[in-house]
């Protein structure tokens, strides 16, 4: 795999976990992409920021709590996680509420980062 072309991939996560299957499906694709040695960035904006909220307990709704997987991503060399500041603000959340280290970007910087990508996948 090391001889292939490396492209900049961005996964844009905009949905709350559990209410729909998007968050979990995105995570599955991200893990698959890790096997192809690409330059992967993850973005969490709008309700997607809830995917990274600390303290998720899913026993009551009988769903799998997949939030610990975000902490395991650096083991797959996926270390570029970005969160939009404005999305946190609109939900009363701060960086301290998130269960993994992220880079918080303004909406303007998020736009620039997105412009710079080769492939953008939206969830």
């Amino acid at each position: 795999m090391s001889e292939g072309v490396v492209k900049k991939f961005m996964f844009v996560n905009r949905k709350s976990p559990y209410g729909t299957v998007y968050a979990l499906e995105s995570l599955e694709v991200v893990l698959i992409s890790a096997a192809f040695d690409q330059d992967v960035s993850l973005v969490f904006m709008d309700d997607g920021v809830y995917q990274l909220k600390k303290g998720q307990q899913t026993k009551g709704i009988e769903n799998k709590n997949f939030s610990p997987t975000y902490r395991a991503l650096d083991g797959y060399d996926i270390e570029k996680l970005y969160v939009e500041q404005e999305s946190l603000d609109a939900r009363g959340l701060t960086e301290d509420d998130l269960l993994v280290d992220v880079t918080v970007l303004s909406k303007a910087d998020m736009g620039k980062l997105m412009d710079d990508m080769d492939v953008v996948l939206s969830f």
């Binding site: 769903n63 939900r91 009363g92």
Partner: protein
């Protein structure tokens, strides 16, 4: 009447439409709908305002799943699945704002 809302207020306008129409009775927030009942959410103010004419409930297991159980708005009553059933049984009719 019992109004049931299961969508995030920042993704869909279900809660907004519900609050525009509902005059009395109760609202039960479930699934992503519970996010409206959390402190600091942009929809919190409208929900608090509606609490003067409507009783507001939120499903606790859905708050817990999203890690938001510790930041429920004042004036919102949390219920479990048994409480959900009781609310449906207590009200004459219900509307799910899908």
């Amino acid at each position: 009447m019992l109004h049931i809302v299961n969508k995030s207020p920042l993704e869909r306008n279900s809660l907004e439409s519900c609050l525009r129409v509902a005059q009395s009775g109760a609202i039960l927030l479930i699934e992503d709908g519970v996010l409206a009942a959390t402190r600091g959410n942009a929809a919190a103010a409208t929900l608090t305002e509606a609490a003067s004419r409507l009783k507001i409930y939120a499903l606790a297991p859905d708050l817990e799943a999203r890690g938001m159980q510790d930041r429920v708005l004042e004036g919102v009553t949390t219920v479990d699945y048994g409480g959900f059933v009781d609310l449906v049984a207590e009200h004459k009719n219900c509307q799910s704002w899908l």
